[in-house]
Symmetry: D2
Subunit: 403 residues, 4 copies
């Protein structure tokens, strides 16, 4: 269980750190300005992000998340501190280095399960950063944490599949550059519970695809990264070759996709927490009330100490999980992946709440990123299975040891 940074990680951390300092942090006010422009195309990604992407790509800071030859080829343990660093400016940095969800998970999925044609047609431009993608699993009318609830149908009709269903909270899909959707649905509702679903590639411009509206997250449209779309699929026909893997493999592919996705979220969330803690310290050092800086208040000090102690613990658990994924595989790291999925968003939520409180009205406003970070992180407690589902599952495995 060695969590140390090897030479490559140290090198990349240096490169990425310089990139953050020179490009990303200075771009934060630019992004805010561009998003506030009333005349802008509301769902087009602001140009500053494109500029950052070009700069990052030129420096080789690109596709860091992707193992194997198609990407940077890093282990999870190598990637962890880099992902955390991007989390410090989470609206900009992950997209800048082509490591933003949901593209990351989609690229991994295509790299692992896509056919040669699928990889050529969709993975290639995603890796090059020419297009963006979305992952369409969650449905509005059912508890999607239970995959058997999914109602979208994918039916074979000759050389085609016909997709019918309604999805929502499809992150990134409001962005017109999001060209391809990976849609989860049932090909065989009568099969065994874990063999009913399949995944299929649906290009955005396929007839019958209707991107209805942007769903909000505590008031945020998240237009900076393509929002969260509600999408109606009405008799959408795609070639049979668009199916990913074989019929009935959707559940297994989803499971494979989710492990890395969860840990990437957790890595970035730690960066958010570190940034929030730094902002809090700076704020309370400089803000004066009742004759002394807020930093002298015992309760504020208590928050800061707790934040530091909690971050340290959460990070170590993320690193252990990364190390396990690298050494025994995602399946062997099942308990730990669940553990960080449970622990990290709660920890980060607590820290962001205190950061908001320390900033007063500015903390809930558009003038700091804190409230938006809070909202984004809050969804992690329910996205991809609410905490309660993961806790129950983890507990049952623990209980089995003593039965």
């Amino acid at each position: 269980m060695d969590f140390g940074h090897d030479a490559r990680t140290v090198h990349l951390l240096g490169e990425l750190g310089s990139f953050m300092d020179e490009f990303v942090y200075p771009a934060e006010p630019v992004l805010a300005e561009q998003l506030a422009d009333p005349g802008r195309d509301p769902w087009r990604i602001p140009p500053v992000i494109g500029e950052l992407r070009a700069a990052a790509k030129a420096r080789g800071l690109w596709n860091l998340f992707l193992p194997g030859e198609l990407g940077a080829g890093l282990t999870n343990l190598q990637y962890a501190p880099l992902a955390e660093l991007t989390g410090r400016s989470v609206l900009l940095a992950p997209a800048a280095v082509n490591c933003a969800a949901p593209d990351t998970g989609n690229m991994e999925l295509l790299a692992q399960f896509g056919s040669a044609e699928q990889r050529e047609q969709w993975l290639r431009p995603l890796l090059d950063g020419d297009i963006r993608s979305a992952f369409a699993m969650t449905e509005p009318d059912v508890a999607s944490s239970d995959a058997t609830n999914i109602t979208t149908r994918i039916e074979r009709d000759g050389d085609e599949y016909v997709v019918n269903g309604r999805k929502w909270y499809i992150t990134g899909a409001m962005n017109p550059d999001c060209r391809i959707f990976i849609v989860m649905g049932k090909t065989d509702p009568d099969a065994d519970v874990r063999r009913q679903q399949s995944m299929i590639l649906v290009p955005r411009d396929t007839p019958g695809v209707r991107v209805l509206r942007g769903m909000r997250v505590f008031g945020y449209e998240d237009a900076d990264h393509g929002g969260h779309a509600e999408i109606l699929f009405e008799d959408v026909r795609v070639p049979a070759a668009n199916l990913i893997g074989e019929e009935g493999s959707g559940f297994a592919i989803a499971q494979a996709r989710l492990g890395p996705g969860r840990i990437h979220h957790c890595m970035r969330a730690l960066g958010m927490a570190e940034r929030a803690l730094e902002l809090t310290c700076r704020r309370v050092n400089s803000r004066v009330a009742f004759g002394r800086p807020l930093a002298d208040q015992g309760v504020v000090q208590d928050w800061i100490a707790e934040a530091r102690v909690r971050i340290e613990q959460a990070r170590l658990l993320v690193l252990k999980t990364a190390w396990l994924m690298d050494t025994v595989g995602n399946r062997g790291a099942h308990t730990e992946i669940q553990a960080i999925k449970i622990a990290v968003p709660s920890t980060v939520e607590w820290i962001l709440d205190k950061a908001v409180q320390a900033h007063g009205a500015a903390g809930v406003s558009q003038d700091t990123a804190l409230a938006q970070l809070w909202a984004g992180n809050r969804t992690l407690r329910l996205a991809d299975g609410p905490d309660e589902v993961h806790k129950r599952s983890l507990a049952r495995r623990e209980l089995k040891k003593y039965r």
Copy 2:
């Protein structure tokens, strides 16, 4: 300490309950639709609210908050359950019955401290519902919980006062029908700490008043009730007669205004919590995952029981506070007002968080009110003095008993 409903309260509760059922709840989807209309004037109050106001006024459900002959003449204890009831549809009902903040506090202030002319010119149309108002106290650059930090200047120049300063989070002020601002500033920075401030009436259309932008609350613009403006006052000149009370009385007037304002917020917050609990129960009774309704999950039951137990306690403390304000006055109820300011928003936040979680993605979306309620309630932990300031003050009084 009698918290029972007297005949008048029972009667009004019946009337208001019918009004909620017939008018307010059915108007909720209408409001959502009107707010979502892309072509609308972004800060104009949606027309459905005007219609509700007309209906409520016609039924005599009007100015219920205001004691004395100018209003409904209710005690705090009589008003408490009515205000709670309006909290169940907090984006509509308080405005419908002309009991929405900040107008309520402003009307009370004018009724109590305004000159005959001020009352005639501004209180009258506010009571009639013809205009709206704002209270401009918080400033962006200082910790406003410490009133000595306020930097806005109100300087006498002949028959006029000249106002210079920057305010933000001025609720309601984005609404063009918000015609009058009550501005807090320093008339004498060298006076004793509690005699430096004054309040002055500044009409919206006075030269030098610049309403800069709408501040957001966790992404929400709160356009339904006029948003939260940042306002710049640059050499704004108003007649000397616009000063409320005498020079140096601003701090005392603010204190007088805040007690009722705090308890009104708490009353409404209880209604929000009751509504959220009802929505949660309905949701978990109907939503199925892993083969049974969410309502069968032990953790969900735990939330519901806790929510009920916490609401009961919080409500009783609000009622005791109302009773004390009625019987020994706001000053005599100082500790209790502080206690509910501390306790109620936290309690309601906890309940709203669980309601969001029980609703999954819908809970953070625009399709339920929960996330917006959460955001609005979250600000109560820092608006009008953060919890930490109130706790310290309350603790000091407790400690003094044993010194």
Copy 3:
């Protein structure tokens, strides 16, 4: 919902307050001394308690808990502040005024369900304070929160009943003056679930009764009030007339007994919390570390404010519950009784924890009562049904409203 003190309550509060000041508080160090005496009979109630009882009885401060003509005839609402006051010195005051559990519940039970002979033989000396009693329900080998689990048998054999079973945590039963046990067991294991149990009077000196040992509570033997016995009943024969009520009525009688028992515990617990808060304030006002009194520490102030706010809420809920019990009966107050059973011990535990922390090593020692109070209060979270059982039950009623 009137929680005010009527004239009789005011009068009794004055009398009891004087008694506390003159007799009870000064007796606290005496009790500690007597309990520490290595030569004493380990389970005999220390003599100081007998002296206090005599003094209280002489002043008419006696059986305050008991409604009707046999006792002081107070309502629950009248009794509440008196019981709270006794909770301030909970090892002495409740026993001093013959209002200590489990005698209170046993006396109520006998008054309500006992035959004339039972009342004469056992209730009379209990009311006079000549003997003490115990209530034997909990069993070591099963989850007693589910009454159907009870395994003790009460079998009819001619003119007698034969009792066999093992009970534990039978409070007060180590005291040799505890002369009578009310034993719960099954007379008909095949009957409907709620008609299987009966209660029967078993005198301590009946052959076959073996008081095995004193159970501890976090190390405490609670010898001051007769400890908590493990008792074996082996072929214990008592006259058939010792059965309380009819066969199969045990469950119903237990339910009737528990409501008042729960609220009495809560009332006293509030007194414990008030005392702990007072001790904490005194301690932190006087204790100096790092150059200033602990009272100046922000975190300590936070504790004190929270404690005050939580106590106020908990007390009001207890008062509402008392008022409901008085006006609509124990059954009508079912939800509220459950609510205080859930809320009050947790609240008081939190406060006692902070009081311990503020006292440092003294807080966990025998030199303050705090740790013992903490332990006693901790058991309330599991005695008479753990919180989890009560929450589930309360939640189900809430959920039913919306089904």
Copy 4:
């Protein structure tokens, strides 16, 4: 940052695990029996512990805690899992392998700072397990977390030092085999704050030493390991050579002693938590209420999942701290030592609380170890500086980074 077990650790874990299984766990009921024997010498360590010590020593499982040639020579990282394992039976195993506090800290202190004579006279028999020792720092009348408050005097008088003062909670000192006390006091109250204190060796049988009484911890006397004594030192004369190090070095020695002491407590506490979690799982798997095992209750599952997630995080932070102490020294690990001192006892307290709750009455009784473990662990939140002091200190270092 490599937390893996090296070959020696793996080997020792195997040996110690076998010893636990064969000797320690079977001895737990024996210890309980011996402690319950009414005829025993109340403060003499029960004989079963001596037998375990002999067995452990024979197997070379001895002085594992002590780095260097005098002990097992393990690093902190090597020792961590071994210490955790002993924590699973914390009343027996640490003493069995001569790794129990406060002897461990005292041996380290003597090894590091003792003169050759001091080591020969006191360290040797401690290492051999022939005697026990105590560390006398805490005083009853002051906040000892602030070392400047210490009032005990150590005054030079010719060839002797004269010690006067009162200490309490001197763990182990009630045990008559505890032959030597290390006493902290002031040799020069006028010196610089960190140069006032010295430490001196005071044999138990020195005239003027009065072991007054055993202090309790939530009712527990902790007689199994020598209790916690209050000791009066009245004109106690010892040779000047008994001073440890030089005059004024007491503060520095204390600091050096505390780091390892804190981490050892945390390591063992993790073992307590693991044991409690195992007991909880076994209990809820087997206990039935309302027709199904407690393990099926959602709230119980939530506890178990939370417990596992929290333990994992806490353990990793302890391991990181151990690794830091090994690689950059105790001073370099200052923040992390403080972090685990804050985090681990709270985490373990939470888990023990749930374990108690899951066990019902048995959980607070003498029939499981849970309540005693809870009490012992609770003191860690205030012993050796309350959490609040450590948090403040940690926060200040964090705040300094951004000033």
